[in-house]
């Protein structure tokens, strides 16, 4: 899932300056699971903004709402008129939601309430770890299911650097060395010999380096178009 964390309150307060009527809009999928931007968090942010406004004697009306997913248009359909009734929407979805709603909503500004961080998992309650970089050319079958691009601080492809210490990364003792994990995992799988093969320079064009990505499934897109024409 996409993991994010809530923006610090002073930053949110700075964002609403000059606006009179603000909606905080949660997203009840990924960012709800990481307690950053679901309906509950949207409600709390709206209340905090209101309290701060009352404390400072600033006229500010805030509401909250949430949709199941801010990355598909149909979830906004029942809400769109309401959304357009505000001066500002703070979306606490990931950056995808903020971008997407900005395009759909028209002249109303949409600001981010969450710092979108990574694609990750939840190994324990309240803990979120980055496991994938979305690089567009997966090599996990070669590295024991542990991604060196996302999980090595240097995205090294052919083994560890000289900075590994007791299984930890040179950047921080809180970061596991991905290559240490890869070697241990491949030993367990009996596939360590594969790590002796040289991985050539990658084609990063499948990642962000190639420019914004777009995937079109023509068989589905064509069907939709035909439906719409009927």
């Amino acid at each position: 899932m996409i993991v994010g964390s809530q923006k610090p309150f002073p930053e949110l307060w700075e964002m609403v300056q000059g606006f009179k009527k603000v909606l905080v809009l949660g997203c009840n999928t990924c960012v709800a699971i990481c307690h950053a931007g679901g309906g509950k968090e949207a409600e709390i942010i709206a209340a905090m903004l209101r309290m701060k406004a009352a404390e400072d004697g600033v006229a500010l009306e805030t509401d909250h709402d949430a949709v199941q997913r801010q990355c598909e248009p149909e979830y906004f359909d029942p809400l769109m008129e309401k959304l357009r009734g505000y001066d500002l929407v703070i979306s606490t979805a990931c950056g995808v939601g903020v971008n997407f709603l900005s395009k759909l909503i028209g002249a109303t500004p949409v600001y981010p309430g969450v710092n979108t961080s990574f694609y990750g998992a939840v190994p324990a309650a309240g803990v979120f770890v980055e496991l994938c970089a979305g690089c567009g050319n997966c090599i996990l079958h070669l590295t024991g299911g542990i991604c060196p691009i996302a999980r090595c601080s240097k995205s090294l492809m052919n083994g560890p650097c000289g900075g590994t210490d007791k299984g930890k990364c040179e950047v921080s003792k809180d970061i596991d060395c991905a290559w240490y994990l890869i070697v241990e995992r491949m030993k367990e799988l009996g596939t360590l010999a594969r790590l002796g093969e040289i991985q050539p320079p990658r084609n990063w064009a499948t990642a962000r380096d190639g420019g914004p990505k777009r995937i079109v499934l023509e068989h589905i897109a064509d069907l939709e178009e035909a439906e719409a024409k009927k």
């Binding site: 601080s153 240097k154 995205s155 090294l156 492809m157 052919n158 083994g159 560890p160 650097c161 000289g162 900075g163 590994t164 210490d165 007791k166 299984g167 040179e170 950047v171 921080s172 060395c177 290559w179 240490y180 070697v183 241990e184 360590l192 790590l195 002796g196 040289i198 991985q199 050539p200 320079p201 990658r202 990063w204």
Partner: protein
């Protein structure tokens, strides 16, 4: 005589079968070349070539390309270091062509310290810098080889004139995961490394066992191993390296020797420094003799960090002086 790949002095010494000595020169945080010139004069004559570090610990300094050329003008052959941290493959290859055009013949490929290292002590560094790592060390070695031997850029475009580099890579034999390190070395060798310089070795026996494993993988059939020697300055430095520097373990008896040298000075701080430095030079000489005895080791890479003047007594003490010269060079 074997055909030279680069014709560098270091390559000639290695080809001659005599033990090679490389030193290290860290460029300054300055636009003034004077410090590079000065260090080059201190090192010259006591090593076959000196590594020019590439923004070591992620601190901005005179670039390794420029400092290598300055050193070369002063008569010190450079081993230009190139990290994968700061440049993508376009910038790397452009700098390699530029360096070769300016006469640089040795290049050492390394991953580079992470940019977070720059913020340390009084220095602010650039911990917020973007890290590049478009290619890693093994891939960079392969790129140099392809440029040199096939006259091709990584992308496949032809070079009018190929850069003739003597290609190096680093190795941390005693780093985690230790059983993978010989394989790691093998990949650098297979990619095209002509010489390898290691992280500083203090635990000679552990290094010997890693060398044996690497030899069994066929790492030394056409690649020369230069064992890294970090000249210790004090007991504190040894303790710090043992505890905090990845891939370095210092046997307790070496730390005890340095501590004893320190104690012999009593409260005299100047003497404390002198006695420890003298002991450090002695230790370095002993380490050099021990590592040169290990099969596969063809030379030493002596790192006297910010203490370039230590190289002379060390090289002389180890019986490695004078350095070989070649009539036609």
């Amino acid at each position: 005589m074997t055909t030279m790949k680069s014709g560098s002095n270091l390559e000639r010494v290695l080809a001659s079968g005599q033990p090679a000595v490389t030193g290290e020169l860290g460029p300054p945080m300055s636009a003034d070349p004077a410090e590079v010139v000065h260090k080059a004069h201190v090192l010259k004559g006591f090593c076959d070539a000196a590594n020019i570090t590439d923004c070591q610990t992620a601190i901005v300094r005179i670039s390794s390309v420029a400092a290598a050329v300055i050193a070369q003008r002063e008569g010190l052959e450079p081993v230009m270091q190139m990290t994968c941290r700061d440049r993508n493959r376009i910038a790397m290859q452009a700098d390699l062509l530029g360096a070769a055009a300016l006469g640089v013949k040795n290049c050492l490929c390394i991953a580079g310290d992470h940019q977070s290292f720059g913020k340390a002590g009084k220095l602010m560094g650039h911990p917020g810098a973007k890290n590049v790592y478009d290619v890693d060390t093994v891939q960079l070695v392969g790129i140099l080889k392809k440029m040199r031997d096939e006259g091709l850029q990584q992308g496949g475009d032809k070079l009018q004139v190929a850069p003739k580099f003597h290609i190096g890579a680093s190795w941390t034999p005693l780093g985690d995961p230790m059983d993978f390190r010989p394989v790691n070395l093998k990949k650098k060798v297979a990619a095209g490394a002509d010489f390898i310089q290691t992280q500083g070795i203090y635990d000679v026996e552990l290094f010997r066992s890693q060398m044996k494993k690497a030899a069994d993988l066929g790492c030394f059939e056409r690649t020369a191993m230069l064992a890294g020697i970090i000249v210790p300055k004090s007991a504190m430095m040894l303790k710090y390296m043992d505890a905090s520097v990845s891939g370095i373990t210092v046997p307790p008896e070496l730390i005890a020797r340095m501590a004893k040298a320190r104690e012999a000075a009593g409260d005299d701080k100047k003497k404390m420094k002198e006695l420890q430095e003298a002991e450090g030079i002695k230790i370095a000489i002993e380490l050099i003799k021990q590592v040169l005895d290990i099969p596969g080791v063809k030379g030493v890479h002596v790192m006297a960090i910010e203490w370039e003047s230590a190289l002379e007594p060390i090289v002389k003490g180890a019986g490695l002086y004078p350095r070989p010269t070649f009539a036609d060079a």
